[in-house]
Structure formats: C-alpha cells, structure tokens
Symmetry: C2
Amino acid sequence: MNTRGNLFIVSAPSGAGKSSLISALLKDKPADKQVSVSHTTRQPRPGEENGVHYHFVSVDEFKALIADNAFFEWAEVFGNYYGTSRQVIEQTLAQGIDVFLDIDWQGGEQVKKLMPEAVGIFILPPSKTELERRLTGRGQDSQEVIDKRMAQAVSEMSHYKQYDFVIVNDDFDTALQQFETIIASQRLTCASQSYTHNDMIVDLLAE
Amino acid sequence: MNTRGNLFIVSAPSGAGKSSLISALLKDKPADKQVSVSHTTRQPRPGEENGVHYHFVSVDEFKALIADNAFFEWAEVFGNYYGTSRQVIEQTLAQGIDVFLDIDWQGGEQVKKLMPEAVGIFILPPSKTELERRLTGRGQDSQEVIDKRMAQAVSEMSHYKQYDFVIVNDDFDTALQQFETIIASQRLTCASQSYTHNDMIVDLLAE
C-alpha cells in the first residue's frame, strides 16, 4: 500500500486565525502532516531558526534558485523575497505526508497553476465586527493603520471563491475540527484511494 | 443563514456493504440526512411500505411521469421500472437535507449529467477473496450463480473512477466514519459555504 500526501494551500486575511489553526493542527507533531518551510531573503527575527521557520538565504542565492526553476511559487514582499521549494514539497508528498502552504491568494494562484490537484482552504472571520475587533489589537495603533489593515483584509478575502473549501472561524474548536474533516476527506478522493489501493483494485477488477 | 443539502450518489457492487453503511448512517434518523425514495413498478415485497421503501406505481403511471420529465433518472431492470423524482429531491435539498441516492453506475451517470454538483461515492470491498466470500452466501447457490454475481460485481466496479470519493469497506466502523467525513466535508466546500454564509460574506467584503 502506497500513500501520497496532499498539498493544501491555506489562505486568510490577518485576523482570521489561520496561524493558530495551523499551529493547533500540527501541535502534536503528527507524522503525516507538516507545514512547508519557505525560503526567504529577510533577516531572521529573534527566535527564528534556519530550516525550521524559514530557509534563510541571500538575495543572490535566491535569484540563483529562481533561475534553476527551484520554486513552486515565489514573491517579493516589501523588498524581501519569499519562495516555496518545489522539490522539497514533492519529496514530502511522496512520503505520504500532507503539506500545508501558508500563503496569500497570489501565491495560491501560482501553486494551483503548477499543481491543479493542490487543495485550497480559505479561512474567514465570523463577521466584520469581529474582524475589526481582532485587527484593532491592543488599542496601540492609529485609525489609519487599522483602516489599512482592514482594506488589506478585504482585498485578500475578495479572492475566497478561488478556494476549494471555506472555514468560518467563529468557534475555534469547531473550525479546527472542520479543518481536520477537509484534510481527512482528501485522503478519500478517487485519485488518492486509487493510488493507495492500486494493487488491490487491479486484483478486484481482474476477470 | 441558509443551508442547502448535497446530493450523494452511492454505488457499489453487491457484497461491498453499501446498504449496511447507508442504514448505519441513517439509523438515528438525523434531521439533515435522508435516502431518496424511488418510484417503481415492481410489486411490493412483504414488509415494504408505499412512500417509505418505494413509491409503488403502475406502468402507465410511470410512463406518464417519464413523459412529464418528472424523473432525475430512471431505468428498466428485469422488466420493472425504477426512477428518482427530480422534484422531491430538489425540495429536500432546499430544506438543507442531504439526500442519498442508492443507485448503480448507470443511474449515477445520468444524475451527474443533470446535476454535476452531485457527489459520487463508490464503495469497494477490501479484496477479491473477501468479495467472493460475501457473494458465496450461505453455500446454497451453484457456482454458476456465484460466477455471475462476481462478473456483475466486477462490471459495476470497473466504473469506480467516475466517482468523486472511494471508500474501501474493510473495517465497518472505519468505513462508516469515512462516509461521515466525506459528507461533512461537502458542507465546507466553497459553493456550500458561500450559500450558507452569503449575508455575512457580503458584509465582510463591503468596503
């Protein structure tokens, strides 16, 4: 019996709880699930480890990887490069491990083009009021900063229809359970099961 | 908040345990799930109730319903007509209830043409040996009868790739759980969630 993992594109506006959901999903370090570790040219923040949080590389190294077609998707954000190594993901999926890509809609769109079987999950906050509350933070930011965050959130959310599944993160435990249901269901698709049970199915269909 | 049920096409060869899985799923009479009740021209068997197991109608009545385009799909099997009322299913889905169609691959194909969003689930036995064991029954049938059953099972199974999901019914409780996972996941698709949370999403995306 072979198994192949699925690639999940997980996107959300800030304030939807995406990071908390992914953390909770991977909390007990399940053997069949892991988050993709991106390459970046930005400086490590305190506590960030190379190879764990990111693969930290120089701009020249990053550009060489682009030239080698090594990235599944890459983007420049505020002067820093971020990219997802295609080879690392393919190897991980081949080991039967589900991989989670925590990326925005633009990255998701690129991945879907290269790998149409990737499964998109979009996480929405439960209401505009709740999103505003979450983005207001601890009252230390100006209205201008908050408005900008809201505009960015609305812009990101306007792409939710490009995703296969949507989770509304109202109650966290329910949202986590829905996340797990979606992931489990993708092991039961015809493509996934055909791969997993190939030998048995060949035998069943033999005259 | 509106909800709309999903239509599930459930197919399997004899001996895969389809009827037991559907029965177990509906055992506690969940408010959001029901099996579709077909029309048929065959005679009721002892214990079968009109409107519960089938809608029993005459051949003339059945033909009039065909002429009215009342059926989602219909077929003639061994001289009897069987059909699924389109209107009854549409009304049930509109009430937020998932409907399960227990039909063969030919019926499933017809339904998929008319309603591409219907979700196909195919149930497979765990091995050829186990299928043979299940189809042999209580040793009362001739080898010829058993061979014919096996050939029919292989013929039905050869269409499993037309289905969205596949369940391998090895351990019954696991298979039932997988059945429930698939059903639950379809409430989380983008189309389903867009419908359910339409007002909230419109509000979220308003500038």
